[in-house]
Subunit: 409 residues, 2 copies
């Protein structure tokens, strides 16, 4: 483990820059068991910031695995709705939410894919009320990561475990700027730069984006009244938060019905304990009509068939290849990191806030503008140094947005 002082600074960054936790707020915190040392530091900074109560909810991989190994078949359609409903109630009571990512990316790789799919579906369904409060930014929330041993092993399979953890800690502290003298100030400057990019894109009001590169020729329509955002923004409870640390993306809402062409993933995706790699999909009328993967294809298919919205797009995000995460040259097997290393799209649920005024508009108005709905929201990477992106205006005019994976201007 790195210096206590560094971990403490990372925890403080998460609470102050990530959550911007307000006096009197409760904090609901999900974390892998192994992250307990970071949870303790986060709790201290949360209480120093005036939190009334910090409640950690730990994920226990051993308990999850025991289920797949020993539970009866009927078990896999059951989820802890009572717990998720409780969490939703906490959010409605203005509790902030922090998620500490870092679970074993391959935890369920060896398990029966049908059971994994059913368990995920049951969980997504039960989690929906809480997830909608999160995706609509009802409250301030943030995701950070902790380098568990299993995660570190998957990132550095050739290193001894202790060294792998050490290296992953180093990458996390560097990518989150927690190793800089004043991380809070560094994030303020970085968030301003992301805002500037979002503002430029919002002024353009592109009708669609055109992606071109090896295996990719995709025209992706943007939702009417779409708004480009960065992870920094004001939640509905009035609190400005940074939903991801690190974050390098600007993102908006694709139009549910307007994606045409083919796209190839540029990094593997870890979905609920299964690695999916080498994804190739074809869109027609916004829907994925053909999907292949070199690895984990069964899991990909079952993800896409979760519900009608799971085969349509809910997010499009642009990230330059020069991002520190991309520059680390690492494949993190973790969405928080990998989605900030490359431009990406997400199938499933869209964020209402990526439509102008969307957080408070009725559902039908959002649907009219092209918003997708689903129980899932899964990001996968389609950017690389070989991808060009054009903005396409309603009149057909093209304008360069990215060239060879970098901002064109």
């Amino acid at each position: 483990m790195p210096d206590d002082a560094l971990i403490d600074r990372y925890a403080e960054l998460a609470v102050r820059s990530g959550l911007n936790l307000q006096p009197g707020q409760q904090l609901v915190l999900t974390a892998p068991l192994e992250a307990a040392p970071l949870v303790a530091r986060v709790a201290e900074h949360a209480y120093r910031a005036g939190a009334s109560l910090v409640t950690p909810l730990y994920n226990d991989d051993a308990v999850t695995l025991a289920r797949f190994r020993h539970a009866p078949d009927e078990a896999f359609d059951v989820a802890a709705g009572w717990l998720y409903d409780g969490t939703a109630a906490a959010f409605r009571g203005n509790a902030a939410r922090m998620a500490i990512a870092g679970d074993d990316p391959a935890l369920l790789s060896g398990q029966n894919p049908d059971k994994v799919a059913r368990a995920n579906r049951a969980r997504s369904r039960a989690y929906k009320p809480a997830m909608e409060l999160i995706t609509s930014f009802a409250i301030n929330w943030s995701i950070v990561a902790y380098p568990t041993r299993a995660w570190a092993r998957s990132v550095f399979p050739d290193l001894p475990e202790d060294e792998a953890v050490e290296r992953l800690w180093g990458a996390i502290l560097a990518c989150t700027r927690a190793d800089q003298p004043d991380p809070v100030a560094a994030w303020k400057a970085h968030a301003a730069e992301l805002d500037r990019r979002a503002t430029w894109l919002n002024e353009r009001r592109f009708h669609s984006l055109r992606y071109r590169g090896p295996g990719t020729d995709l025209t992706l329509g943007l939702a009417d009244d779409h708004e480009w955002l960065s992870a920094g923004g004001k939640a509905q409870n009035g609190v400005y938060c940074l939903a991801n640390i690190p974050t390098e993306e600007v993102f908006t809402m694709p139009h549910r019905d307007r994606a045409e062409g083919t796209v190839r993933s540029t990094k593997p995706l870890s979905y609920q304990g299964t690695l999916i790699d080498g994804i190739r999909v074809r869109f027609e009328g916004g829907r994925i009509v053909e999907a292949r993967a070199d690895r984990g294809e069964e899991t990909l298919q079952s993800l896409l068939s979760t519900d009608e919205g799971a085969a349509r797009l809910g997010e499009v995000a642009l990230v330059p290849q020069s991002s520190p995460i991309s520059q680390s040259g690492l494949l993190f097997n973790n969405t928080l990191y990998d989605e900030n290393a490359a431009s990406h799209i997400a199938v499933g649920q869209a964020y209402p806030s990526t439509i102008r005024g969307g957080a408070t508009r009725p559902a039908e108005e959002l649907a009219e503008r092209g918003m997708n709905r689903s129980l899932v929201h899964v990001d996968w990477m389609i950017g690389s140094g070989e991808i060009d992106v054009d903005g396409v205006h309603a009149d057909g005019r093209h304008e360069p947005v990215m060239r060879a994976g970098e901002w064109a201007n």
Copy 2:
């Protein structure tokens, strides 16, 4: 740590004899973070028994301490109602409950007693709906223990920590009979013996009990229609469970308004992180009108003033001095163990099931028979080898129940 096989047998005992978990039931499991190795074994046996979902909720002492050290004063009237309501919903949906005890008995000893009291009161209030489902045995539940390092240190303050943990493991496995060749069979026989004692007492239908010993001269009225029970019994969901492992007690409901005289505690009590020792109280009309303690008196006073029922009795239990826990000669600083080492009484909430047919009788009928209600239920030990207990019939006749701490017949 002892042999994996022994821990596994202990976990199996908890699931099979303690919970008697039924196929399709969810299991809600609370545990100290350190108990994760036992939680994993319990989860496996729960799934083997047909559990649909095991959800561990971990207590994190570091987070609790961070609150007392850093949270603002207003924080201490807040509790995780959303989580307890969720738990209550799980119980209403027929989830079983296991609690793994073993938290640091002196965790909050150094903290401001007023803040501790306020936090406890807020928690008790928020926890009430869930607690009522537990005390009325709406579902099958059981409590077992795990020897955390802090608990082991408090039991063996003079031993090196590793040795203390080893010794406490030994005591737990012996007292729970998990070190016997067939623990499940051993518990079946032991539960039958406790049932025999309860049946004898139920046939007597005593009006009250009279306790005499050093510092103690107490006449304790029993509730009308009271029923003596052992920890083994059928929950309202029809499942026979053993609520405590280990258990050595038979217990029933005292009459809320009929306790007269003085009583002295015979072992220290650990209440929510504070040790209370040398308790002397005087009852008048069922109410504690005078209370002293050599240590932790402030916490005792604040416990008794939680609400009207907190200064009246909710349970009376008889335990012989020859119980294995008593014979271990250890003071465990943990109610699960210490209450099974000696006869005890509890202030606060009574168990409806300790009145005949009580689990399904309306509240007014229970109140008429003398049932006490409170946000709290706290056991403390009044038995020792120097205590005699008589049963007193309505007509004044006395009959020996215990002599010098042993059953008189």
